[in-house]
């Protein structure tokens, strides 16, 4: 027993030495850290985005004559794990740039750490305005929620002819709370009336009580800007209860799991989104879609496309900066104008938010179908 534990300690020490010695040998690569929810409540986003990053990496594997090395850390869909992941990427892996997280709440947990270390980070899909607010090194590849909520409200009033709306919000997510408020603001401004506001929480499965309350209020539409699992279950229970009004939601809906879980109940669900392959216009997008569908054997999705854009933005910025210094990459990112990305033309603003267009999609015949494009 004594001997065995001695050997174990020896092995541990050896392992520790090996890991300490490791990074020194790998100077000829550029490390980009990726932190995404690969498991947990929003795992579908993480897995789609990782697929997209891999394809983008394949399309542009080198920068400044050096190979780009990707380091992936799972956040388990959890805010604390997200913060830990960024600490690990910054302190242990010594990455020059970071891609992630997929959702706003987790990105807001991760960003302060990369900000303090002056490492630029690009989130593919965190749409809450607070994600980049007051931060010099925080960027994103997507539009932000005030725009999304505004477009959704206009679509509800003009296309769906809604006069009254019920809003169902996931109170545990910064994204859902923010987007819900932006929608309500614009909807009321356009003369609409919110007849019912009710709350759910990530992980809830029973929404029957909330939905019965919605039913009593008899709205023209339901606005439910939540993530795909909750939206799918909610739609299913709403239809079972006999609520047949259109359901409108945000970019969080665009995951195949929505259709797999929701089935017929999510048909005719409209949502504001970042990307639809039919609306893709740039050369980069066409190349990406081709490679994605060859390699992954499925249709190119919005989350993968935005994650690819986050990768391209970061890699282009490193190229433009001609260095791996965090501040230089940051300045190069801010200077990216009219970049023809996968999800459209991206112009990065000084505040870390890009100016770009939005698409409206709906679910039809078990698929995401493109409806229209809205320009900023």
């Amino acid at each position: 027993m004594q001997r065995r534990s001695f050997l174990a300690i020896l092995a541990l020490v050896g392992f520790a030495l090996a890991t300490v010695a490791g990074p020194a040998a790998a100077q000829d690569t550029i490390k980009i850290g990726v932190y995404l929810p690969m498991t947990g409540a929003v795992a579908a986003y993480g897995q789609m985005e990782w697929d997209g990053i891999q394809i983008a990496h394949e399309m542009m594997p080198e920068v400044l004559g050096k190979k780009i090395d990707l380091v992936l850390v799972d956040t388990k869909s959890d805010k604390i794990e997200a913060a830990n992941a960024v600490s690990r990427l910054v302190e242990k892996e010594k990455v020059v740039g970071i891609i992630g997280e997929a959702i706003s709440g987790n990105t807001m947990a991760g960003n302060p750490i990369s900000e303090a270390a002056k490492i630029p980070s690009v989130s593919p899909t965190a749409t809450n305005p607070l994600v980049t607010q007051g931060k010099k090194y925080a960027f994103r590849a997507c539009f932000i929620d005030p725009f999304q909520g505004q477009v959704a409200a206009r679509f509800a009033v003009n296309q769906l002819k809604a006069k009254t709306a019920a809003v169902i919000i996931d109170i545990a997510q910064d994204y859902c709370v923010g987007l819900g408020n932006f929608f309500v603001k614009e909807f009321v401004k356009l003369g609409g009336k919110v007849v019912s506001t009710t709350y759910i929480q990530t992980g809830d499965q029973d929404f029957s009580a909330q939905l019965s309350a919605v039913q009593a209020a008899k709205p023209d539409i339901i606005y439910a800007p939540n993530y795909y699992t909750e939206d799918a279950l909610m739609a299913k229970q709403a239809r079972d209860l006999g609520i047949n009004v259109p359901i409108l939601t945000g970019d969080g809906a665009q995951a195949d799991a929505l259709i797999e879980i929701g089935g017929k109940a999510v048909e005719e669900m409209y949502f504001t989104g970042h990307f639809h392959k039919e609306a893709a216009s740039t050369e980069l997008a066409k190349e990406y879609i081709k490679r994605f569908e060859e390699k992954k054997g499925k249709e190119a999705d919005a989350f993968g496309a935005l994650a690819a854009d986050a990768y391209f933005l970061l890699a282009k910025a490193i190229e433009k900066a001609g260095a791996t210094d965090g501040t230089k990459i940051r300045d190069a990112l801010v200077g990216l104008k009219n970049f023809p990305g996968v999800s459209g033309i991206i112009t990065m603003q000084d505040n870390g938010n890009p100016i770009k267009s939005m698409v409206i999609n709906k679910v039809e015949g078990g698929k995401f179908v493109y409806v229209t494009t809205i320009n900023p």
Binding site: G40, A43, A44, S77, D204, S208, Q210
Partner: protein
């Protein structure tokens, strides 16, 4: 609130409550005999749901074969869990058992995560469970009627076994005093295994019902139902089978009616359940149906 909406909410509450009750019975049975809070009980819901999904989608079995299969298999996993995680600790302090139970729960969750992955799956809902009928303006899923009936049928069967058969007598004896029961020549380990089989099968039945009603299956789907069932069991008086059923209904109805009367408090639904647990533990630790505490080692 109109009468229709009220009855709608009532039916929502009854169906949620009977699901809690079904899961709580298993919790309480194991506690009754081993004084063990089996935290892995909720995860058996998940195991059963995945088994049923794979039986239906991969082996294309009809639901009336795959559901019983999933229940039987989960029952066996329950026995296995007892053999691996609890039996070696039979004479250890109770706290070791509790830690082992938490470990078993994490093991099941993470095994599912590694093997199946974190993206939730839809649950195949057979047509006969998906139907919706309308009674006087109240829309009721037929499932909402089946679930309480199933719960009552299981309850009756269980009460029969526990109070009218020899095995049940042995179970009740073991719950009073394991050592003396063993001295009477009863194979206590077999009785405990049987308890796990029954408790786990009930969890499995609950899991399948749960997945039919909320057709979304992921490795962590059992956590919240497990906790809620635990609350229901404590509420009713842990160790008491009828108490578990009563506790389940009280909790389910309470949650739904809270949201029904105060929609703006909807986000405090889970908080309500846990506050209820704390209050019960503070003021009536033996629960609604509970017997007075007897110190048992």
């Amino acid at each position: 609130m109109s009468a229709t909406i009220f009855f709608q909410q009532l039916s929502n509450g009854i169906s949620l409550g009977s699901l809690y009750a079904l899961v709580a019975i298993g919790y309480t049975m194991v506690y009754g005999i081993l004084r063990l809070i089996n935290f892995a009980h909720g995860d058996l819901l998940m195991v059963a749901s995945y088994t049923a999904i794979y039986a239906v989608t991969m082996f294309s079995l009809p639901w009336y074969l795959s559901f019983p299969l999933a229940i039987a298999l989960t029952g066996c996993i329950g026995i296995l869990m007892d053999k691996v995680a609890y039996k070696p600790l039979r004479d250890a302090p109770r706290i070791s058992l509790l830690i082992s139970a938490i470990g078993a729960s994490f093991l099941l969750e993470n095994l599912a995560l590694v093997i199946i992955g974190g993206i939730p799956k839809g649950f195949p809902r057979p047509e006969i469970f998906a139907k919706v009928i309308e009674i006087l303006g109240v829309r009721v899923q037929v499932l909402t009627i089946y679930i309480p009936i199933m719960t009552l049928v299981f309850l009756m069967a269980l009460l029969y076994i526990v109070y009218r058969t020899k095995v049940g007598k042995a179970m009740r004896a073991a719950s009073k005093d394991i050592e003396t029961t063993r001295l009477m020549g009863i194979n206590v380990d077999r009785i405990i295994a049987l308890t796990f089989l029954m408790g786990s099968s009930l969890a499995a039945a609950g899991g399948i019902m749960w997945a039919l009603k909320y057709p979304q299956v992921n490795p962590f789907m059992g956590v919240i139902p497990g906790l809620k069932a635990f609350i229901a069991a404590v509420l009713g008086g842990i160790g008491d089978i009828i108490g578990a059923v009563v506790g389940g209904f009280v909790l389910g109805l309470g949650e739904i009616l809270l949201v029904a009367f105060f929609p703006e408090l909807a986000q405090y639904r889970d908080a309500f359940a846990f506050v209820l647990l704390i209050l019960v533990l503070l003021f009536r630790p033996t629960g609604i149906m509970g017997e007075p505490i007897t110190d048992k080692t």
